[in-house]
Structures are given as C-alpha cells and as structure tokens.
C-alpha cells in the first residue's frame, strides 16, 4: 500500500518536471541551446498565475490560460532579444547569455517584489480526494496529472499534425535545408520558444496550486531537475521528456521513501550519469554514429 502511495506522490511530482522538461527539450531540439532561463520562466508563470488569482480574482483555468499566454510572449521576447543575435556564435556564448538571462529574471523579480515567498490562496481548486485501496490521492494530484497529460497530448498533436509542427521538425533536423525549402526559420524558432514557455507557465501555475509556496528563486532547482529529466528521456525527443520527468519524480519519491531523503538529488544525478555513459542519447534516443 505504502509503495503505491509513494508512486502516486512521485507521479505528481514527475508530471511537473515533465511539463518543464518539454520546453527544455523542444528548445534544445531546435536550436541546440541549453536554455537555463527556462526554469525562471516557470517561476514567472507561477507569479502571473498568483496575481491573476488574487488580484483579478480568477479561477484556476483562466489563470492558467493567462499565465500560458503571458509566458509565451515573454519567451519569444527573450529569444528575440537575447538569443537570436547569437545564433551564429559559439554555443557556449549562447549558454552564458542564457545564464545571464536567468539571473536577470530572478533578480529582476526580487527587485520588483522582494525575495519573500508568497502563498497561493486556499481552495483555488476544491476537489475531494480519492481513496483507492487505502491509498489517498488528493484531487489536486489528479488535476495536475490530467492537465499535464492533456497538454502533452496537445503538444504531440501540434508537433506531428500541424504545419508549424512540421516546420519545427524540419528546422530541428536541418536548419539550412529547411531554409532552402522555404520555411521561415525565425518564426519557427519563435513558435518553439512560445510553446515551450507556455508549458513552463502552465507548470508554474500548477506548481503553485499543488505546493502553495512560490518565490523568485523557485525556478532554479525544478529547472535543473527538468533538464535532467529531458536528458534522461533523450534530449530533443518529446515523449522522452515526459517519460524522463515521470521517471525522475518516481525515483526521487522512492529514494525519500527508503529513508535517504538527503541523498535524493544525488541519486537523480547518479542515474543521469549512468544513463549518459551507457545510453548517451537517453532512454528514447537513437544513437547516431559520427561520420568523418
């Protein structure tokens, strides 16, 4: 019974990682940039959701939508201002810029509102908890899992069935060839950032509802974990990010359950390194042989 309860805990945590990881993976897949600012967009999303709920007095779903739209715009702005000029520079330069942007968002937020935590109001989502074979599953966990799954399916649909999705796949496969085929690469990249950031925004609101406490530096650790999740599943692969997130969440829960809660993050990284050494392309990735 206890193990199932722990699994449920892990899946709830993992679905948040998965949502953030999706954005990481999409951006990496298309521009090969480790976007360290992604975790901070997640934080901004949580705050936008918070202010929509408390100041504008909106419910969960409107707040979620507002936050997603705002984060999408924010993500595109970041891409246009900070990353686009560096598209032809070394990738390490772009990485440093991403770190700079991340610091800027964190400390800009602290400058604007202080570093103290904020608490999502009670009862934004009032759902009864479910009791299944002695396992208590809170309504919020189900809502989170449901929302995450829905967004992931939507994303799969966008990537595989729409025109913009096709363009994304083409650009990620070969940017120059895509350009020759008449695909507007700039717009496609912006669209990728928009979708990835919207997902991060959604994750932010969901995180707020589930964990209550939000603060300007909350994005750092989940951002890093989501990144690990993305690599775990095979960076650049969308189902991989979902699986990676869930696996990571479950691993963390099980490690804590075994009584080693202080080693939790360590185990996550050990798993990451083992995966990298034995299956460098991740769980879902294909190993591509390097040609001379």
């Amino acid at each position: 019974m206890e193990v199932i309860q722990q699994l449920v805990n892990g899946i709830s945590l993992g679905s948040i990682y998965a949502l953030i990881a999706l954005g990481y993976t999409m951006v990496y897949g298309i521009v090969k940039l480790i976007n360290f600012a992604h975790g901070d967009i997640f934080m901004v999303g949580a705050f936008i959701g918070f202010y929509s709920i408390t100041i504008l007095d909106l419910g969960f779903f409107p707040a979620l939508l507002i936050s997603m739209v705002a984060c999408a715009i924010f993500g595109v702005l970041i891409e246009r201002i900070a990353y686009k000029p560096l598209r032809n520079a070394t990738r390490i330069a772009a990485l440093i810029t991403a770190i700079g942007v991340s610091l800027f968002i964190e400390y800009g937020t602290i400058y604007a509102r202080g570093a103290q935590p904020e608490a999502y109001p009670d009862g934004v989502v009032s759902l009864k908890s479910l009791e299944l074979f002695g396992v208590k599953i809170s309504g919020q966990s189900i809502l989170i899992l449901g929302t995450s799954l829905f967004l992931m399916i939507l994303l799969q649909f966008i990537v595989h069935k729409t025109k913009i999705g096709k363009a994304m796949r083409a650009v990620s496969h070969d940017m120059d060839a895509a350009k020759l085929m008449g695909i507007n690469v700039n717009n496609t990249i912006s669209a990728t950032f928009a979708i990835g950031s919207a997902l991060a925004g959604a994750a932010g609101v969901i995180f707020g509802v589930y964990y209550t406490k939000i603060e300007p530096l909350m994005g750092i650790i989940p951002g890093l974990k989501a990144f690990v999740a993305a690599v775990l599943g095979g960076i650049g692969i969308i189902p991989g990010a979902m699986a990676g997130g869930l696996v990571l969440g479950v691993i963390e829960s099980l490690v804590s359950a075994a009584g080693y809660s202080l080693w939790r993050d360590g185990v996550a990284f050990v798993v990451l390194i083992l995966i990298l050494i034995f299956r460098p392309a991740g769980l879902f990735g294909k190993n591509i042989r390097e040609k001379v």
């Binding site: 206890e2 309860q5 722990q6 400390y107 602290i110 935590p117 804590s256 359950a257 009584g259 202080l262």
Partner: protein, 390 residues
C-alpha cells in the same frame, strides 16, 4: 613567442592592483561623525536564502527609522548595508568592507550561521561588536570554551525550547511515541531536535522515526508517508515556516492528523497562508512571545511594520532584525559614545531589555536567556496555552 602569456597575466595583475590602490584614498572617516553613528549590516540579500536576509533588513530599517525620530544621545544612526549573496566568501569580504572601509561602530551579522561565522574573526580582529539577528550555531559566540567577546546574538539557541516541547508532549498531550523531522542545514533545528529527543525519551516516550530535509525543499510527501507508516502519535518539526508550512499541509493531505509541534522558527503569518487555516489546527509551537499577544510592544511593532510595508506582515526574521537594532541602540545609549569597546561592554551588561521577542538578558556565552510560551493554532490564530520560565 613562448611564455608570452605570462607577461599578459602579470600586467593585468598590476592593472588590478593599480585600480585597487587608487580606490584606497576613498577610505575615510570614523564611525561617529557629524552627529551620525554608522552601523553596518551584512545580510543575505541575494542568492539562495535571500528571503531571510530581506526579511531581517526590513525589520532593521523600520527600527532605525523609529530610533532616528528621537535619536540616541542626540545622534542619528546611519545604516550601511552590504549584500553577501548567501555566500561565506562574500560575507567575509563584506564584513571587511564595513570594518575597514566604512569604519562602522558595530555590525549586524548575517541571517544564517555560515555567513555569520565567516565574519566572526573579522569582528574579533577589528574589535567591532557583531550582533547576529538569527544565526543559531553555538560556535558563533563561543569557540572551544572561549567566549568571542565581540560577538552577540539576538535569537535563542538554548535547547530550552526542545525541553519545553518534550515536556508538553509527554505531560499535556500524553503521547508515548513521536517522530522527528529535522532541517539538516540548520543548527537551530538540530539543537532543538536533540534536546527534544533527550527529554522525551527521559519522560518514557519513544522516538519511532527520524527524518531530515534541507532548507528550500518543496516536496515532503514521500518522507511524510514514511513517517505515517511508523505510526507516531506526535511529530516534532523544528524548522522554519517556509518549509514547515508545506510539511504541515502535505502531512494533512496524506492523512497524517496527529499533533505537530515546532519552535519559534514557525512564527510567521505566512505560515498560515502556506499551510492553510484548517490544516494548521492541532499544531503547537514554543515561542518567546505571542504575536497575537496583547503586549503593547508587539502590537506596536506589527502595526508600524504594516504601515511601512503596505500591509505586509512581519515574520520571525523581521522581528529579530528589528530587535537587534534596539538591542544595539540601547547599548550605544548606555555606552554614551560610538566607541566600539564601550558598546561591547554595554551589550554584555544588557539586562531585562524589553524587546518584541521578549526580555533580553545575556548569559556568560553572550546568548540571550528567555521564558518560553506554548501556543496552539486554532483556525489560523495563535492561542496562548502556557508560559514556562527557564
């Protein structure tokens, strides 16, 4: 062509030295000039635990504003703040800047133990009193049996709270088994837990589970599920409100409904916001004062703080930051001048000073001694249970 890099390296070293030497002339003044007494604050204003430092800073600024309305011995306090980025190296650097550059008469130390420990030696070497509002590590004021004569603190480290909590659990709540959940990054938490365990076992109780977390964790469900499996009648969580709020909330969520108890680190209106009013029922804290206290000092502080910061509520860090300034101001007043040695002596002799967090009297290790009260949360309000003197 070989070795040419070296020249570049040393040239740049020289340039840097030149820049620094150039700045040197700007160092000026002593701490007491033109009717102003300069005090320094070295806080975590950015980095991992920025929220602690910022809370403390708001309390410090409020207190200075209030004191400057009247002045001390006809003089005003001037605050110089440096940010230590929640990093020990930066804290050392900041303390050196305050001591040798700004030449303050006293320093208010960092909110966490590590960053305060990084400044202790500097305070001792430069003979400038250092008061930390919230750092709880025992070695800050007392190292290898020797008191650091220039270092003081406003918060409480005495394991007294743990003893009080253990007695309350055994005698009033009449529980036989307890679980302990510790913030392993905080000496305060470890100290309270140790004295709780000792006394609870001495009272015939049994510790059925011990778990730990690190500050800024957010998911405790797995750990709590573990605790639930051990079936304790009571849980002791000596942590800070940011995590405790989440712990209580998540404990109730997974159906862990036993009494939960902690120390003064819980005390913040944000605790109620994070955990929720209903979930906080059946929880208790030991504290030095009750913020719902009718005591005028407390009420005035809460009202003044809300007025200055747009209705924001103060937390334990704020209250201790505020108290630290009053603690220092009182000593400066009695010292009669901005002389650091006299201030040190006056701080040491503090006895029965009325502060928001209680009456201060220092023991021989420069640690304050205080009475404790036990409060119960009912519908988000603190209710007074009992008062216990040391």
């Amino acid at each position: 062509m070989r070795k040419k890099k070296l020249a570049g390296v040393f040239m740049s070293f020289m340039v840097a030295a030149g820049v620094l030497a150039g700045c040197n002339s700007s160092a000026s003044g002593d701490g007491e000039k033109g009717g102003k007494i300069k005090i320094g604050a070295n806080l975590e204003l950015s980095g991992g635990v920025a929220s602690y430092g910022q809370s403390a800073k708001e309390g410090i600024e409020l207190a200075i504003e209030e004191i400057n309305k009247k002045g001390i011995n006809g003089k005003k306090l001037e605050l110089v703040t440096v940010d230590n980025k929640s990093d020990a190296a930066e804290a050392t650097n900041g303390a050196l800047k305050l001591a040798t550059q700004d030449k303050v008469v006293a320093m208010i130390g960092a909110a966490t133990s590590t960053n305060t420990l990084a400044q202790v030696q500097i305070a001792q070497d430069n003979k400038i009193p250092l008061i930390t509002p919230t750092a709880t590590n025992a070695t800050i004021t007392n190292k290898d049996g020797k008191v650091n004569d220039f270092v003081f603190r406003t918060c409480f480290i005495d394991p007294f709270q743990g003893t009080v909590a253990a007695n309350f659990a055994s005698n009033d709540l009449k529980v036989k088994s307890a679980a302990v959940l510790i913030d392993s990054s905080s000496d305060y938490s470890k100290g309270l837990a140790a004295s709780f365990k000792k006394n609870f076992v001495a009272n015939g109780g049994k510790i059925v589970k011990e778990e730990a977390y690190v500050a800024k964790d957010t998911d405790f469900r797995a750990t709590l599920t573990n605790i639930k499996a051990a079936n304790p009648e009571y849980i002791f969580v000596p942590g800070f409100y940011e995590e405790v709020g989440l712990i209580v909330k998540q404990a109730r969520e997974i159906g862990l409904n036993v009494p939960i108890m902690g120390g003064d680190g819980w005390d913040s209106p944000n605790l109620v916001k994070i955990a929720g009013k209903d979930t906080l029922n059946n929880t208790f804290i030991t504290n030095h004062y009750s913020s719902g206290d009718s005591d005028k000092k407390v009420q005035d502080f809460v009202a003044a703080f809300k007025a200055k910061y747009n209705g924001k509520s103060p937390d334990a860090f704020t209250a201790l930051g505020y108290d630290t300034v009053y603690f220092l101001a009182d000593a400066i007043k009695r010292a009669g001048s901005g002389d650091s040695e006299k201030i040190r002596k006056a701080l040491e002799e503090t006895d029965g000073l009325q502060l928001v967090s209680g009456n201060v009297k220092l023991d021989k290790n420069h640690d304050p001694i205080k009475a404790a009260v036990i409060l119960e949360y009912k519908n988000g309000e603190q209710q007074f249970k009992t008062k216990i003197n040391p």
